[in-house]
Symmetry: C2
Amino acid sequence: MASCLISRHFALSLHRNVRLSAPACRYVSKAAPKTQQDYDYNGPSMKTTVPGPRSQNVGAINFFCNYEESRGNFLVDVDGNRMLDVYTQISSIPIGYNHPALLKLMSNPNNLSTLVNRPALGILPPENFPDKITESLLSVAPSGMSRVQTMACGSCSNENAYKAMFIWYRNKERGNAAPVDDDLTSCMINKSPGCPDLSILSFMGGFHGRTLGCLATTHSKAIHKLDIPSFDWPIAPFPRLQYPLEEFTRENAQEEARCLEEVEDLIVKWRQKGRPVAGIVIEPIQAEGGDNHASPDFFRNLRNIARKHGAAFHVDEVQTGGGATGKFWAHEHWGMDDPADIVSFSKKLLTGGYYHKDELQADKPYRIFNTWMGDPSKNLLLAEVLNVIRRENLLEEVTRSGKSLMNGLYELQAQYPGILSRARGQGTFCAIDICDDATRNSLLLKARDKGVLLGGCGDKSIRFRPALIFKEYHVHMFLNIFNDVLAQHK
Amino acid sequence: MASCLISRHFALSLHRNVRLSAPACRYVSKAAPKTQQDYDYNGPSMKTTVPGPRSQNVGAINFFCNYEESRGNFLVDVDGNRMLDVYTQISSIPIGYNHPALLKLMSNPNNLSTLVNRPALGILPPENFPDKITESLLSVAPSGMSRVQTMACGSCSNENAYKAMFIWYRNKERGNAAPVDDDLTSCMINKSPGCPDLSILSFMGGFHGRTLGCLATTHSKAIHKLDIPSFDWPIAPFPRLQYPLEEFTRENAQEEARCLEEVEDLIVKWRQKGRPVAGIVIEPIQAEGGDNHASPDFFRNLRNIARKHGAAFHVDEVQTGGGATGKFWAHEHWGMDDPADIVSFSKKLLTGGYYHKDELQADKPYRIFNTWMGDPSKNLLLAEVLNVIRRENLLEEVTRSGKSLMNGLYELQAQYPGILSRARGQGTFCAIDICDDATRNSLLLKARDKGVLLGGCGDKSIRFRPALIFKEYHVHMFLNIFNDVLAQHK
């Protein structure tokens, strides 16, 4: 394995010699314009089936990777297979592998101290931390939010966001008076009123993480939830839109109205049974649950329902945030000045955390707290990722690539109506349904053996989650290979 | 702030010129032997009160730090105050600030890829990851455990450990048969039998984290739990030992027997009310809750009670693990071959996670899972920390320093019986009680202004949590200053 490790200097000079060569465009007649990305590879290169002989395939492990040799949009495995990565570590790699800007950043000796001295951020932050947060996370704060709390991962982000909503809700109920003795003593033994019977309303098909609080709002697959105790919290239906959208305008509007009505009914019902809804949590696109979309109108109405019933509105952008929809946050597509009370993130942001409105700030120190509360070394990476996104206009690139990807999916869907349906997406955050689960899984493996790494979601969907540096050129590379896979599919 | 940033090369050459000078030993008559630690400072140096004018003091923030200038046992703040750190970022810095071995590691270009390409470890691990885990975490695996699961933080570690216990318990109940349809459908809506009414038994005064599952087992302070919904899980009393231990042998044995009896009663009671105890979780020393100790016999008996009732036994070593008790794991002091079914860790281990016995392995992939499942860059740091611990015999140092610290605390307690009581500890993981909360807080601030950073725990205790490189020399430095603070206390 030592031979796989290459020095940075050698690596950089090596990759200067890698230039893009013209791809063979079997599917799309016109060759897509190539962009100079001298650290990226020019295409997949497969030496074995995957997993190959040097890999292992146990439990959930797909195969073992050679991250040193991976570049840009290409993930290299231990057998030297180089795959176009349209899954990017479950949508968590923002600007590809070994981006030169990040390598440079991490080799800057000025950053060493941040790498080796992880602080307890909540009590002893580094002197420049507020500035760093202003430059990074707050520079992309959702509309109406000027506060952010970092956390270590997506689940912790949502758990703490839920806590912030509960604290806010109970303070309202107390009229912002201090808790009484009964609150303070009963909470120590997990009892009401100190530990109140409040709830979070979530949606069937939603995914918000796997720790016990998050899991009570996750309803995408049984394997996530089986055998784990949960809370009696309300679960609303998420709209099941029919595609193509333009043919089902009326039906889809009715479906969304039905779901919103159910949300209100549940809020009333849970209030009546003594478990008031303190917050509503929703993904702008249900990702893990099958890339389920709803209209901006649906979300605007839902946000109003939350407000009307005194519940906080939490938009979970763990998977949608960071630019893949063509906007930095997917909720920006709703066109609202006041889209949410809380927006949580992780994955492409490289650190977990949540933004919140001023009133969702906990009233006392140590209520939202843990030892690390994030990690300044991840913030360092994020700040540079944001620089690259701006410098390289990556949101525009995503919008452009996303259009090509959707057009290609529409064409493939027209060509293979027995296999493909319901092509949908925003930016490059796209998905398509396959006729059944077995075919979906077979296509995923065949595509992988041809050098395209994809992920599934929901019962029978394929989700596309490329990095933000996925250009039209890469879209066509993917479409060519996927077309071959479909053509050979029996 | 840029002027505070120093290049690595400059930093190393600068600190070679810093040598320890003989301390003025006001408290201890004989001077402690000095150890050559050429990157450490020779003592505190205070320029202002803390927080000083360049710091801010909002919410839980104590003050802002200059981590670039901090070295070894000394934390430097933004006003240039240099404090002997006996709290170490809530016990999470294993070998001091800017340890040369860690600076060297992080400046090795071979490690750059690990810093910039964070994988989804559960599905696409780096090729050398199993070897790295074997060299690092598994090289210090608790007795009887050969499996480890990394996680991002302490709370996630415990949440997932609880899930592993629930899954194991339900599989036992099903006779390892596959779940039936009713299990799979009911779990999607948070209902039994899919989401069963199982419980985790915890102890009053325990702290296991602040996410909703963990929080249901945390009972140290009301501020952690107030307003957050919880589970109806059993809570047993933790022994309240009387000190000095040798004077209260009989009373303490009775107290421990009482608590164990209560544990068994609770297990029976919760089984009867349909919420069987799937696991028992306990800290070897209740840290956040006030540094509460129990005898090895107590833990051995408790482990047997868990076995007898078919519950898993989870030892939470998030704060005690990593060497501060003089053994790598605090449970080693119990002298058992089979101390636990699960041991969780974080903090000084730099990554979260938990060890478990083979039978606690989830039966299917994706049951214990999340996007990152830890972070190889933290594992890299941990491996080097373990090398340093071995190379520098730090566990022996801790034992030696711990004895000095305890002797010093006993002497101070004899000298100030109106203020100090119940000195207790293992290794340097020590604590002492102060007469009341207000005096405790006043002493903490006075010590800080004299250059010693300490933390509180429980109602009125001070906890000592130095790094593993805290030598006898530093113990005496602390005792001198603390003695001065006590002498001046009105």
